[in-house]
């Protein structure tokens, strides 16, 4: 435990140094930057090795793209008004999920009503308990919207990288399910432990092994994470007609 505390301190120090280092401003006050906030419900807390996953997500996005991202993402509780401050949130966890309180249900409905996007990341897809429970609870929040499998032509697979399929810490299912409302993909269900693939330990080494593909799979997971962030920031920009011929040609050449 002492080793972990020291590790988090080091990570925090790195983050502070990074934030203080002179660099181009990414957006006024970070307000418009990509911010993978972690959604907390009931009495849940956000701790453990995957906690670095969201900051790594930001770091990978900033390193690889022009998009600004929040260096130290925060957690947000589902029953607070802060949920409505930004349009993106990640609901990650493992194990059973307690039923949402009426206030949480109401707040989440308001979040979706103004166009929020939620990524559900099951950290233990092997059991699937978290994913099932979250689907059950989201069924209460959005009773009129059933999850459907996203086709492989969905923009989430080509919003920045050409990604052939979703992967995370585990290879998982070839497709992801999503709730699409008014033409917008508002909930994405991942059963691949994406934050687990991104998480690093205090020394910067991946916190979990990516199976079965190892580091190649992890790279694909990072690319998929970047694509999700780009989808959150640009919506279906890459589905525009000006991009379509180019992407069709590139896919036609068998490039992944």
């Amino acid at each position: 435990m002492a080793r972990w505390q020291g590790g988090w301190l080091a990570l925090a120090a790195i983050a502070v140094l990074w934030a203080a280092w002179p660099q181009a401003a990414r957006a006024f006050g970070d307000e418009g930057s990509f911010h993978p906030r972690v959604l907390l419900t009931g009495t849940a807390s956000w701790e453990g090795a995957r906690r670095s996953g969201s900051s790594q997500w930001s770091w990978e996005l900033k390193r690889r793209t022009s998009a600004p991202a929040r260096s130290v993402p925060t957690a947000v509780r589902a029953d607070t008004s802060s949920l409505l401050a930004e349009p993106f949130v990640v609901w990650a966890g493992e194990g059973p999920v307690a039923p949402l309180t009426p206030r949480e249900v109401d707040n989440l409905r308001r979040f979706f009503a103004i166009g929020g996007t939620l990524v559900v990341d099951d950290a233990a897809p092997e059991t699937g308990q978290f994913g099932r429970d979250v689907r059950r609870e989201l069924g209460r929040v959005l009773p009129d919207a059933a999850p459907l499998a996203l086709p492989e032509t969905h923009v989430i697979y080509h919003s920045f990288y050409l990604v052939p399929r979703p992967v995370g810490r585990i290879e998982g299912a070839k497709k992801v399910d999503a709730v699409v409302r008014g033409g917008n993909t508002q909930v994405v269900f991942l059963a691949h432990d994406l934050l687990g693939a991104l998480a690093v330990d205090p020394s910067g080494i991946p916190a979990f092994a990516a199976v079965p593909g190892g580091e190649s799979q992890r790279e694909q997971a990072r690319r998929f994470a970047v694509n999700i962030a780009m989808y959150v920031l640009c919506s279906n920009y890459k589905d525009d007609q000006v991009h379509a011929p180019f992407l069709m040609r590139r896919r036609g050449r068998g490039v992944p």
Binding site: G32, P68, G116, Y161, Y237
Partner: protein, 714 residues
């Protein structure tokens, strides 16, 4: 009477046969007795009657359209008509003549020297109006005209006239004021199929003609858009092959900019053309949009970019072409190009050949320098001045952060950048709640947002540093505490007009909080769309967001006094300022400038006489934004398009109603129905009292009997 005569006759026969004495007395007394007896029977009276002779009512309708300014038989057609009128007056005799002028309407004939001003000559409308109001139907009509009349041609005009006239036998005489066709080549008519829509080709039919023996087998035709401060842009051209004095040419033109536009259709007339004024027609088009074609360029993806893109994509009236910079030179993508879904930013293509195809360009948090846009910034500035819409949305790479100060683009921004700051800082990260200015509270483009939030706005994360608003710009939001170097509140949302175009400067990158925040949630996130609906609508001159509607009730004839009507939006107030600029290649002073108090009601503004050409009227009310209206002033307009006199039509008018067609010089030869004698007063007085006749008859009958007895005839 007969009995008396027979009696007298018998008496004469009797006296002739007899030798009686006193035959003279017998005859005289018999005669007198008979006369008096007749008087007793007939009772003669004296009748005193007083009456008048009333001449036939004749209406003389004199053409007052502008075609009467063209050459006629004796000077201009109008001068010829005046001489014909004088001849008619002199030869009228007892006819009662009423002289009326007709054009768009009918009115008493203006005194000599007044120029005909009507833009058309509606004879049938004039007749209808006169006959409906007349308390006495005319017995004859005279039309003094060149025959260039609106309505049916020679074949049908007779029938149309007979349907109007009160009955058979009312002749309509025609006096032709011109006989010979002038030597002229002209644009006779320009017709477009349907309304003009931006970016959509419009089919145009151009009719040209040659008359008076002018030699023109082929006429080059050019269609140009008149621009403010720039040379006219050629839209289409062709050559019309003239057969039998006329030709029709089908052309297509595409207007890229929506809003009020001026188009000139001109021919290259051959030598000898005597009426050069009708070699070109200037047409005002109100170009609409089927969809707004908008170029959205973002320097990086952010939540502000996401919000704007989502709104643009959800708006069915917007066709958005987006380019977001997703990767910079510093980006370590950790992949080969073939693994990326990225395309090159086609800066050259977009900002050269494609630029005119867009209605508006949005640069959001975009630095021009790294993406080689700097070299195309003059194009972008010209695009705005030529009628394009432009929005600069804030962010670290916008305004000073994008190094736009001193560039041509700054010229078309509503805020000054050179005066923005003296240091290296280009933005202020302190959160701010923008303050709505007085102009912002009245501005129609913010009305959709105000209807949701009133005067509340959410806090926004920082601002770009900008300088003072440019003269004529409109500041809708300002910083509540930060000042420009001149000490004025720093503008955060401002609008401006530059040439034919408009631009918007948003020195913020947090307007997405109007769509996604706890503040925004109370109106279901509609605030962001409401703001952009107003801004884009204003940029595209949506009438909902224009401060006033501008009309020319009587049109505009070059050289004639013109009136412009301004109908402000309800609720607007302040001084109404009007400027009228000619569509010149070079910018110059306005042709007219004036002010009037505005009470929110329509106001008529006399703008004097303008020279021929295309004009743009710009109206501004108070501190609000401006409204525009394009209009053309022509010397002759439609009336001069075909200058040939139409004698056949005048002949048809006369022959179909029993009238005569005469030349103006023969106007005095027209004859009109005879005058009628009308009794106004009649008195009857007995010549003598009745008893006198009876008594006299009895007396002379007695004397006659005495004479007869003395003569032995009893």
């Amino acid at each position: 009477m007969l009995v008396a005569l027979v009696g007298l006759l018998l008496l004469l026969v009797e006296l002739r046969r007899s030798k009686a004495e006193g035959r003279v007395g017998i005859a005289l007394t018999g005669l007198l007795a008979s006369a008096l007896a007749l008087g007793a029977l007939l009772r003669p009276v004296t009748v005193v009657a007083r009456g008048t002779r009333v001449g036939a009512k004749v209406l003389v309708l004199v053409d007052q359209s502008r075609s009467m300014l063209l050459p006629g038989a004796e000077g201009s057609r109008d001068e010829t008509a005046r001489k014909a009128v004088e001849r008619l007056q002199k030869s009228a005799g007892e006819a009662r003549m009423t002289f009326l002028g007709f054009g768009e309407k009918v009115e008493p004939l203006p005194p000599g020297g007044a120029r005909p001003r009507a833009q058309r000559s509606d004879l049938l409308g004039a007749l209808r109006s006169v006959l409906v109001q007349a308390d006495e139907m005319p017995q004859a009509l005279v039309v003094v005209s060149d025959g260039r009349l609106e309505g049916p041609g020679p074949e049908q005009i007779g029938e149309a006239l007979r349907g109007l006239l009160p009955g058979k036998g009312v002749p309509v005489h025609a006096v032709a004021v011109a006989e010979r066709e002038p030597k002229d080549a002209s644009v006779r008519a320009v017709r477009t199929a349907g309304a003009a829509v931006a970016h959509q080709p419009v089919s145009m039919t151009v009719e040209v003609g040659c008359s008076g023996g002018l030699s023109c087998e082929s006429l080059p035709v050019a269609v140009r858009e008149l621009l403010d401060g720039a040379p006219p842009a050629l839209l289409s051209s062709g050559v019309a092959r003239v057969v039998d004095g006329k030709a029709t040419l089908e052309l297509q033109m595409t207007l890229d900019r929506a809003g009020p536009r001026l188009v000139e259709v001109a021919i290259d007339a051959p030598e000898g053309d005597t009426i050069p004024e009708n070699n070109r027609r200037t047409l005002a088009f109100d170009v609409s949009r089927e969809r707004v074609r908008l170029l959205h360029v973002a320097g990086r993806p952010t939540y502000d970019v996401r919000a704007l893109r989502n709104w643009l994509k959800s708006n069915a009236s917007v066709d958005v072409i987006a380019f977001f910079i997703l990767r910079t030179e510093r980006s370590d993508v950790h992949a080969s190009d073939s693994e990326l879904a990225l395309i090159r930013f086609p800066v050259e293509e977009l900002f050269t050949e494609q630029l005119p195809s867009f209605d508006a360009v949005v640069l959001q948090d975009f630095n021009a320098e790294p993406y080689r846009l700097l070299r195309y910034i003059p194009n972008l500035a010209r695009y705005v001045e030529g009628g394009g819409g432009f929005v600069m949305v804030g962010g670290p790479e916008a305004f000073l952060g994008g190094r736009y100060q001193g560039t041509d683009l700054e010229r078309v921004l509503p805020v000054d950048l050179k005066q923005a700051t003296s240091g290296d800082t280009t933005f202020d990260l302190a959160p701010v709640v923008p303050r709505i200015t007085e102009a912002g509270q009245a501005a129609p483009m913010l009305a959709p947002l105000r209807s949701l939030f009133g005067n509340d706005l959410p806090p926004m994360p920082g601002v770009n540093l900008v300088g003072d608003p440019k003269p004529g710009s409109l500041v809708l939001w300002e910083h509540p505490s930060r000042k420009t170097r001149s000490g004025r509140p720093m503008p955060l949302l401002s609008l401006g007009e530059f040439g034919d175009g408009r631009s918007v400067a948003i020195a913020l990158d947090g307007v997405h909080r109007l769509g996604f925040s706890e503040f925004a949630e109370r109106v279901a996130g509609r605030g962001h769309g409401a703001l952009w609906d107003g801004l884009l609508g204003w940029l595209m001159r949506d009438p909902r967001f224009e401060p006033a509607q501008i009309e020319l009730p009587q049109g505009c004839a070059a050289g004639e006094p013109t009136t412009l009507r301004v109908a402000p939006l309800p609720g607007t107030s302040g001084t109404l300022s009007l400027e009228i600029f000619p569509a010149n290649e070079r910018k110059g002073p306005p042709a007219f400038r004036g002010e009037a108090p505005s009470t929110g009601k329509p106001v008529d503004l006399p703008i004097g006489a303008l020279a021929p050409g295309g004009y743009m009227a710009r109206v501004k009310i108070g501190a609000g934004s401006g409204a525009r209206r394009a209009f053309a002033c022509e010397v002759g307009g439609d009336e001069w398009a075909d200058p040939r006199p139409d004698r056949a039509r005048l002949g048809a008018i006369a022959s179909s109603t029993g009238g005569r067609l005469v030349d103006a010089s023969d106007a005095s030869k027209l004859s009109f129905p005879q005058a009628l004698e009308i009794n106004a007063e009649r008195s009857v007085t007995p010549l003598l009292p009745p008893w006198f006749w009876t008594l006299g008859a009895a007396l002379f009958l007695g004397i006659h009997w005495l004479f007869r007895r003395r003569g032995g005839l009893v």
